[in-house]
Each structure stands twice: as structure tokens, then as C-alpha cells.
């Protein structure tokens, strides 16, 4: 019996092309390794060339994180089941790996690990040479010169990761890899071929890319709010205390912020009276908090230190269009 299980496990490994290079024990261990290289995700750390077992992926409508580029990979010992209700159910032993970088300059790599008792996450900060990254449980403040100017970059600590990556039961969870977020080009088919997704469907749902100017303004704005706010501002999630819900599914005007007075905003209100004043972007608390860099005012609270000017332009145009 045990032999059969073992055999099945081996076959599964073969089927998914999971590589012996990846340190499965490190993914499942209660204590994380001190160095990113110990996971064996990359054949060459300096060039970030991933082993064949990792499936690279992108998402359609990404979160703004101080203009950082993001490279993402899925490592899964078996495929997730196609479903469109929630995040894909990558099996125990899976890892989601995301490196934040500005061009060739690597900053940090966050790993989400699916362990026996649920998901967990750890941040690794790269050395100046870009050859190794070190575990930083408590996060780190960095000052980085980028093409967008100097950025006071904050590597989030474990709990700050959890501030967004948490479900209604307070369990850690991935956010991005939902079918609708992965549905771009031939990506779903490619993930199936790679063995990290069991199947796909021709009519798979898609989250619009808010950067796609050919889409309707309302669609783009709601996609932007979903990607940048909806992981906290949704029923049952960390920012539901104020009753402002910005997730894609919300359709009640007051909960979307339309003419909704603030609840616990304090000076985050900026002296304004409602979250969204239709037709009046500058009278809207939502925009006021997007154009702030003050930690006591700005939204999102973590994940950015500079203003997402493209996002601000989009939301400004959207609020102006409302009546």
C-alpha cells in the first residue's frame, strides 16, 4: 500500500515534470531556509533562470507596487483543478514564487508555500550583486534608484503579507492565480501543458486588463479597483470594517462608495464627505487617498510608497463620468 502511494507520487512527479532540483522538503519544512537558493527554484540565481519544473505566468490586471516589474512562477507537484469561483487549489507542496525587480535590478522574492496546514509566505531580499536573496522575516526598508526616481521601497514582513493574503477564516491564501486573472493569450493552455492546471475551457472568464484603453471606462476602473483594493475591501476580508467593497462582484452603489460617508477614516477623509462623489473626483475620498503618500492617509496602506499616476488618471476619469 505504502509502495503504491510512493509509486503514485513518483509518477505524479514525472507527469508534471517536477524537477529533482527543487527542494520539496524546504517547501514543506516548518522553518523556512535562510537563503532563497536553498529552495532550488533557480538554476542560475544571477540570471533568475528557473528550473524546468517552474511554470512562469503573468496576471491580466496586476497590483501596482511602486512600478516594480514582477516575474512569477508556479511550482506544483500536481495540477490544480479548473474552477472559476476562487483561487486555484494547488496541492500541498506547491509554491508560488514572485520576484520584484526594476529591469535587471532584483529587489525581493516572495514565496508562498502550500504546507500541510495551509499556505504561508516569506520574503527574501536580494544582495546588491543580485546573486542571492536572504530571508527577512521582519521585512526591510530599502532606498532604490529607479528610472521612476528614488523609491523608498518597503519589503513587507510576514504579517504584512498576511494583511492582504488572508481569507475570511484568517487563513493565509494566494490572491492572484484565479482562472480569470490567468486568462491571457494561450497562458491557460500552457499551464495545462505544464501540468500545473488540469484543464481549461474555451469560455473561461477573464478579468479585464485595466491598462487596455480599448475597453469601456467603467470596466477598466472596476478592474483596477478589484486588483488594487478588492483583496482587502470585500466582505469578510480585512478592510470590510467600513463597508466599502471594491471587489469585482460588488454591485451595490453605497458599498462601492457612491455617496457613502466614511466610517473610521479619521484624517484619511481629507475633510471630504463621501468616498465617491459622482462627477467630482476631487470631492471623493477614494481619489484623495490614492494621491497621498502619507502613511496615515494613503491607500493601499502597504505595497506602495509612490503614487500610481496612471491608476489615478483612470479613477479620476471614471469618477468624473459618473452621475
Amino acid at each position: 500500500m505504502r509502495f503504491q502511494t510512493l509509486l503514485a507520487a513518483c509518477l505524479a512527479l514525472l507527469a508534471t515534470g517536477a524537477s529533482a532540483d527543487v527542494n520539496d522538503a524546504a517547501i514543506l519544512a516548518p522553518k523556512p531556509p535562510r537563503l532563497l537558493s536553498e529552495f532550488g527554484f533557480f538554476e542560475d540565481m544571477a540570471t533568475m533562470s528557473a528550473t524546468a519544473a517552474l511554470a512562469p505566468y503573468d496576471i491580466t490586471s496586476p497590483l501596482f507596487t511602486d512600478h516594480a516589474d514582477k516575474s512569477r512562477w508556479i511550482y506544483a507537484p500536481g495540477p490544480a483543478h479548473y474552477q472559476t469561483d476562487s483561487v486555484l487549489d494547488f496541492p500541498v507542496g506547491s509554491a508560488l514564487i514572485k520576484t520584484f525587480h526594476y529591469g535587471a535590478q532584483k529587489v525581493e522574492t516572495r514565496v508562498l508555500l502550500h504546507q500541510e496546514d495551509g499556505w504561508t509566505a516569506y520574503p527574501y531580499v536580494w544582495n546588491d550583486e543580485g546573486t542571492e536573496a536572504k530571508l527577512k522575516i521582519a521585512g526591510k526598508d530599502l532606498v532604490i534608484a529607479t528610472q521612476f526616481g528614488t523609491i523608498n521601497y518597503r519589503v513587507p514582513n510576514f504579517n504584512q503579507c498576511k494583511a492582504c493574503h488572508v481569507d475570511g477564516a484568517k487563513d493565509f491564501r494566494p490572491i492572484g492565480p484565479k482562472v480569470r486573472n490567468l486568462n491571457m493569450g494561450d497562458q491557460l493552455a500552457r499551464l495545462v501543458q505544464h501540468g500545473v492546471l488540469d484543464r481549461t475551457e474555451p469560455d473561461a472568464p477573464v478579468t479585464p486588463d485595466y491598462r487596455d484603453a480599448s475597453l469601456a471606462l467603467d470596466t477598466r476602473a472596476r478592474a483596477y479597483l478589484d486588483a488594487n483594493c478588492g483583496h482587502c475591501h470585500a466582505p469578510g476580508l480585512p478592510a470590510d470594517t467600513s463597508g466599502l467593497y471594491l471587489n469585482w462582484e460588488e454591485d451595490r452603489a453605497v458599498h462601492l462608495g457612491i455617496d457613502k460617508p466614511p466610517v473610521a477614516a479619521g484624517r484619511g477623509s481629507g475633510g471630504l464627505h463621501v468616498d465617491i462623489a459622482p462627477g467630482d473626483p476631487d470631492g471623493s475620498i477614494l481619489l484623495y487617498r490614492m494621491i497621498s503618500e502619507d502613511p496615515g492617509v494613503m491607500m493601499p496602506e502597504i505595497g506602495r510608497s509612490v503614487i500610481d499616476t496612471d491608476g489615478v488618471d483612470l479613477i479620476r476619469a471614471w469618477i468624473r463620468s459618473l452621475d
Binding site: I137, N152, K170, K260, A264, R267, P295
Partner: protein, 417 residues
């Protein structure tokens, strides 16, 4: 033999040896403290040595049953003057957290927040903005929200731009022996159930004690709040809340405000020298389309309180001026807005099982009561008339049961934690 077996079980039930993690001030203190808060195991204690800690990023605790304690609220100080990241000072999302004997100062946003936890104790902690009242201060000092089994004991909150001590959308709550000064609201219980607020001292706030309910929130229609043996005096600090926040409407000089909540028992308190009014209760003041939300208060029971001179100089603000104009100066000790449905207003008044009761108060020689009749004043002007008889409220109200708070399995309602 039996004893041996019992011993065996007792040992098995014990968790792994709880650790004590000592933190001292210094350049690495923030990282060490945050790392300790992340790596702590249930039962561990993190101890802050005396001194001032400069903290740049919001601290957070997500592990259950962890104690964070210092050497005293005036000696172990977490200063967020240079905060660059995160809004709150400390956010707690782990159950059974015990925080005691330290201070959180000058956070960009709220001081200490707990969200969605079962069991949170804030004992002899202080949250303060050291520059005094300023609309740039954070909103709340001590801020449990969507939590149950909440104990705030011997705490101090100073200069919050909304409420010093604020418990929202929570249940099973005790706030006792605490002090709120120079906040917009000294102490506020909002959208919450089963709360005991007693033996607190509220002074020099805009409003001393606020008990109210707001629409469109995950938890609403709060009920069962007992407010007793508190002192709410000299709450005459000008309202410095940023506009847009509901608390910005509170007139300076308010001893207590009850709005749109049910089953509130107010007894044994002392209210004095609040320049607008000692106690005012009434309906939600804004428009709402929330059909599940009840806008008027039900079963407010005000008895055996002691009132001193107040209401001599109502605040020159929207509501202060309305009170001055309608009921005159000095404003009686207890003011009721008189708002109800139009049918009730024109016929027999409030529903029998929702009626209030006001009795056995020591009014110190002032006018005890006024029904301001806002409905008449703002709408049916030809019917408007102020009345001054508190016995117009015919509620037959019994004492409410005490709140019960259990943290880490221990009932702290009567004992200290």
C-alpha cells in the same frame, strides 16, 4: 495512582514551554520586536524593557495567545514619530492577545487596533498624540473592531482626532478604569453588543462618552450597553475631527451622546461642566437607504446619575446652535430629540416595547430634562413644542445583565487578567 494519571494528563495538556523574549531599545529594536511578534508561539511573552523605541513601520501580531508587555505606560514607549510605513501603530489579528504596560505614541493612523479577534486585552496601555489635539492626529487610540471578548482596563487615550477608546462592531466588551482626555470622543462604543463601560474618567474631550450605531456596516443595530460609575466632566475641547467623519458633528461640551442604539442603561455616572449638554440621546442624524438599519434609539434607561452645572454655553456649531435655539440656556441635563415615525408622532408616540425611562437622577438643582421635538422644529413647525417632563417616557425597563468577557478561558468580568 489516580493522582499520577491526573498529573500525566495535566502535563500533556500543557503547551511547550512558553518563552519570554526580551527586547531592549536600540537601532535593531524594531526588527527584533517585529520578528519576535511573528515568530512567537502561543503562550510566549514579549517583554519591552524600559525606554523609548523609535518605530518606522506598523507593528503586527497575528499569533494567538501572545502577551506583549512593557515596564509601564510611561516608561516603555513605542514612538511612531518617524513612521513611514503602515497606518496603525500595532495591529493585532491573533486571538487571546494580552497587551499591557506600554505606550504607543504619535502614530500616523490609529494607535492599537485589533481586528476580528476573539480575546483582546489592553491593560494599562497608553495611546497618545503628544502634540495635543490636532486634526492631523490618527483617528482612534485604542481600537478593537469586529472582535469579541474585549477588555480595556486602566488604559489611557489622549488626543485622538476621532475617539480615544473606540470599540466597534464587537461583542462582549468591558472598558473600565480608563481615562480619555483631549480626544474628539473620549470613549465610544459603536455598532456593538453586550458592553460594560464603567469607572472611566472622561475629561477635556469634545464629547465624553458616545454610544451609537451607523448604517451600512457588516454589524449594526447594536444593543445591551451598560454605562455606569463613570465621570464625564469638562468636555469642552473644540471639535478637531477632520470633516466627513460622523464624529465631526459632535458639539464641544457634550457629556454623553446616545444615537440609534438599543438597550442602553446609564446609571451611577457623574456629568458636570459640559458646556453644551450633559446627556443627549436621539436618532441617526443623516440620510440612509439601509433598510435593515434602525435609525432611532430604543429602551434607553437613564437613572441614578449625578448631574452638576452644565449647558451654560452651547458650542457655536450646527448642533450646538440648534440645541441653544430650541431648548434655551442653560440647557437641561438630559435632552431627547423626540424623533419617531410620523404616525407615532401624530398618534400615541413610540411603540410600547421601545420606550425609554428616565428616573431617580440627582439633577443638582438644574432643569432635568427637555424633549427638543426636532420633528416639530425641523418639519411640523406649527406643532413644535419643547416639553420638560422626563416621566413622559413610560418604558418599564429592568436592569440589564452584566457583560461577560472571557480571554484565554478566563472570565475577566470580575477579576483582573
Amino acid at each position: 495512582m489516580n493522582r499520577m494519571i491526573l498529573w500525566g494528563f495535566a502535563l500533556m495538556a500543557l503547551p511547550a514551554q512558553a518563552a519570554i523574549i526580551d527586547i531592549s531599545p536600540g537601532p535593531d529594536a524594531e526588527e527584533m520586536l517585529q520578528e519576535a511578534l511573528i515568530l512567537a508561539e502561543p503562550g510566549d511573552e514579549i517583554v519591552l524593557a524600559a525606554g523609548t523605541y523609535q518605530i518606522r513601520n506598523q507593528l503586527s501580531l497575528a499569533v494567538d495567545d501572545v502577551t506583549l508587555r512593557g515596564a509601564g505606560m510611561d516608561t516603555s514607549i513605542l514612538s511612531f514619530k518617524g513612521q513611514t510605513g503602515g497606518s496603525e501603530g500595532l495591529i493585532v489579528t491573533g486571538d487571546g492577545a494580552i497587551l499591557k504596560d506600554f505606550a504607543v505614541e504619535d502614530t500616523k493612523g490609529d494607535g492599537i487596533k485589533s481586528k476580528g479577534v476573539d480575546g483582546i486585552a489592553m491593560i494599562r496601555v497608553r495611546a497618545e498624540w503628544t502634540g495635543g489635539p490636532d486634526p492631523e492626529n490618527g483617528a482612534y487610540g485604542l481600537y478593537p473592531v469586529q472582535s469579541k471578548n474585549v477588555l480595556i482596563d486602566g488604559a489611557v487615550a489622549i488626543a485622538a482626532s476621532d475617539a480615544g477608546i473606540y470599540v466597534g462592531q464587537s461583542e462582549n466588551i468591558i472598558v473600565r478604569n480608563s481615562r480619555g482626555e483631549f480626544n474628539v470622543a473620549g470613549l465610544e462604543i459603536e455598532n456593538s453588543n453586550y458592553a460594560d463601560v464603567h469607572d472611566n474618567h472622561l475629561e477635556n474631550n469634545t464629547g465624553g462618552i458616545l454610544i451609537f450605531d451607523l448604517p451600512d456596516l457588516p454589524q449594526k443595530n447594536g444593543h445591551n450597553v451598560r454605562v455606569f460609575d463613570n465621570v464625564s466632566i469638562n468636555n469642552n475641547t473644540g471639535n478637531f475631527a477632520p470633516e466627513g467623519n460622523i464624529v465631526a458633528i459632535v458639539p464641544a461640551g457634550t457629556g454623553m451622546l446616545i444615537m440609534a442604539t438599543a438597550d442602553v442603561e446609564v446609571f451611577g455616572n457623574r456629568f458636570e461642566n459640559n458646556d453644551t449638554v450633559n446627556v443627549i440621546f436621539g436618532s441617526f442624524v443623516e440620510e440612509t437607504d439601509d433598510d435593515d438599519y434602525i435609525t432611532h434609539p430604543r429602551r434607553v434607561h437613564i437613572h441614578d446619575n449625578t448631574f452638576g452645572p452644565s449647558g451654560t454655553n452651547p458650542d457655536d456649531s450646527e448642533f450646538g446652535n440648534v440645541i441653544r435655539e430650541i431648548v434655551g440656556v442653560p440647557v437641561p441635563n438630559i435632552v431627547y430629540d423626540g424623533v419617531m415615525t410620523l404616525t407615532q408622532y401624530l398618534t400615541f408616540g413610540m411603540k410600547r416595547d421601545e420606550r425609554h425611562s428616565i428616573h431617580s437622577n440627582d439633577h443638582g438643582g438644574q432643569e432635568p430634562y427637555a424633549n427638543a421635538d426636532f420633528m416639530g422644529y425641523f418639519g411640523l413647525t406649527w406643532l413644535h413644542g419643547v416639553t420638560n417632563d422626563p416621566t413622559e417616557h413610560k418604558g418599564d425597563l429592568q436592569p440589564l445583565p452584566p457583560a461577560r468577557v472571557v480571554i484565554r478561558g478566563k472570565d475577566v468580568s470580575k477579576t483582573e487578567l
